[in-house]
Amino acid sequence: MDSKNLYQEVILDHNKKPRNWGKLADASHQAEGLNPLCGDHIWLSLKLDGDRVGSIAFEGESCAICKASSSMMTTNVKGKSIDEAEQLIREFRDMATGKLDTGSQPNHLGRLSVFAGVRDLPSRVKCAILPWHTLHAALNSEATISTEGDRDPVATADS
């Protein structure tokens, strides 16, 4: 993997100017995501409008990959139904772990495929996936997820 490809303009832009940054005062769902190995730590809050994601926001401290992934996730899932959001979560995880080739297999990831390069950087896969697992936790009313230990969503996905 060439990090020149990973740190593309769109990722750098979302890192510098994260969209939907902050916390929703009237959130119906929220979750905290933690990657203890590198210290990525995000808080995600969202408000469902019927079965759709009406509004969504995130904040926290993280590397550029995690922050850009969070930012792009919020812009992508806003207005989507829970089922559509869960499908994106699965597809993003499969792309990041190398199980889905966005070039040749059908998917709904669109511009999110800029993160495909992390598949070749095992230590960075969790940075990209963290917001997506946090979203899954929020939608399923789990308060906290961690990328380490029994609750490691990547390990669970692989097992």
């Binding site: 990090s3 990973l6 740190y7 750098l12 590198c38 550029a64 990959i65 230590s123 960075r124 940075c127």
Partner: protein
């Protein structure tokens, strides 16, 4: 290479080492990473192995291997002689009084845990206090926390200043009638601070308190004399000093080791076993249950031969050149903060780049073939002290060159350009 040569001349290094000749001993340094020559600056995590040590491992495995101790056949006697020969080399290398004071362990962490179980659980009780420093690696904090929790003892902490130097007066004031043990790092893995352990040991001994020194970051880089330090315990690992993983050392004063309890039970650590009573073996074997990593132990012996052939003083002088040169270069970089600026520093350069997470720094440096470590370096209390979640850390060894420091600096420029 013209530019790097001119840099070398400009700094006028002490020329302590013929680095190119040393580099030729390390086959892994010929690797290319992402099409660039490998610049290996992650030595505080683990160092590379010279051909001489690799050859020794192969020779042992090819023609000398059998289980050690108690065997009457040729191979067992050969392996035992080589393994115990390595112990004697280590004894001489750290100037221990006797070979039986040198215990083979799995590594520094294992050594520290051995002292916690064998000494701590035997002699530290409710209300007692254990002193550690703010600079410790988690492996010299967590075992003591476990002991404190189990026994109702208390953990006290020696704070450090903004440079990452321990506050000596605060250390003195921590002592009281409950103080039973001191456990301190010789060199901070996260900041590179060289801790004045000899003076600190003297302070503890005035009060009759034994001291354990975590020397994982010291033994590979400087001459360590355990009798001169007068430490009661000293721990280190082979893999940070050009040796194999899976083997480390606990030095302990014989009188203390003899009154300690065994850590693990099993073969080799006993004199006799019946179902009524087991009599433990003498030191060091009392602490060496089960079959050890024999090849790794012999490899550690070969590692010491190698380091001694280069000379520890010359290695220390060379690393001093590298850290001085790198520190000067980093001070000229905009928006780069050096974390850990102690006057007395080993070859460790921890830093942050403004607006860029250390993991992104590390990934981009890797693209340039430059290997650094990023994260909290298993020293979260140090990170908390400096109010940061993580740093990037370059750590040097005998085979690093000034032009590799230039490659690191060029990599930082590229990081700043990408994130600019």
């Amino acid at each position: 290479m013209t530019s790097s040569r001119s840099v070398l001349q400009a700094v006028q290094p002490t020329g302590a080492l013929d680095v190119e000749r040393i580099r030729a001993d390390f086959p892994i340094l010929k690797l290319k990473v992402n099409g660039k020559p490998l610049v290996y600056l992650d030595n505080a995590a683990s160092s590379q192995m010279p051909q001489q040590v690799i050859d020794r491992l192969v020779r042992y495995q090819t023609a000398e291997h059998a289980n050690i101790h108690r065997g009457v056949h040729y191979l067992s006697e050969t392996a035992t002689a080589a393994y115990e020969g390595a112990r004697a080399k280590i004894q001489r290398f750290i100037n221990a009084k006797e070979a039986r004071e040198v215990i083979f362990t799995r590594g520094t962490t294992n050594s520290l845990n051995l002292v916690m179980h064998g000494y701590g659980r035997a002699f530290i009780g409710a209300g007692d206090e254990i002193v550690v420093s703010q600079l410790e690696h988690h492996s010299n904090i967590v075992p003591w926390q476990m002991l404190c929790e189990e026994r109702g003892a208390k953990l006290r902490m020696i704070p450090c200043n903004d440079a990452g130097e321990l506050l000596f007066d605060d250390y003195r004031k921590l002592f009281n009638s409950h103080t039973k043990f001191v456990a301190i790092a010789h060199v901070s893995n996260a900041l590179g601070t060289i801790v004045p352990v000899k003076e600190m040991i003297a302070v503890a001994h005035q009060r009759g308190v034994p001291v354990l020194v975590d020397g994982a970051q010291a033994v590979p880089h400087m001459k360590v004399d355990v009798q001169d330090l007068d430490c009661d315990f000293y721990a280190f690992s082979a893999h940070k000093m050009c040796g194999p993983t899976g083997i480390g050392i606990l030095y302990g004063k014989a009188a203390l080791l003899e009154k300690m309890k065994p850590f693990e039970g099993g073969g080799d650590m006993i004199l006799s076993v019946t179902f009524e009573k087991t009599t433990y073996n003498v030191i060091p074997h009392k602490f060496e249950a089960g079959t050890p990593p024999i090849a790794a132990g012999i490899g550690l012996g070969a590692t010491i031969d190698y380091l001694e052939s280069v000379g520890m003083d010359r290695i220390a002088a060379h690393e001093h050149d590298l850290i001085t040169y790198a520190t000067d270069a980093f001070r000229q970089l905009n928006d780069v903060r050096i974390v850990g600026t102690a006057r007395d520093k080993a070859g460790v350069l921890s830093f942050t780049v403004k607006g860029v997470h250390p993991h992104d720094v590390g990934t981009i440096l890797n693209e340039e073939g430059v290997a650094v470590r990023t994260g909290h370096h298993c020293a979260q209390p140090v990170m908390q002290r400096f109010g940061i979640p993580a740093t990037a850390r370059a750590s040097f060894y005998l085979y690093n060159t000034l032009s590799e420091v230039d490659a690191l600096v060029a990599g930082i420029h590229r990081v700043q350009k990408i994130f600019g």
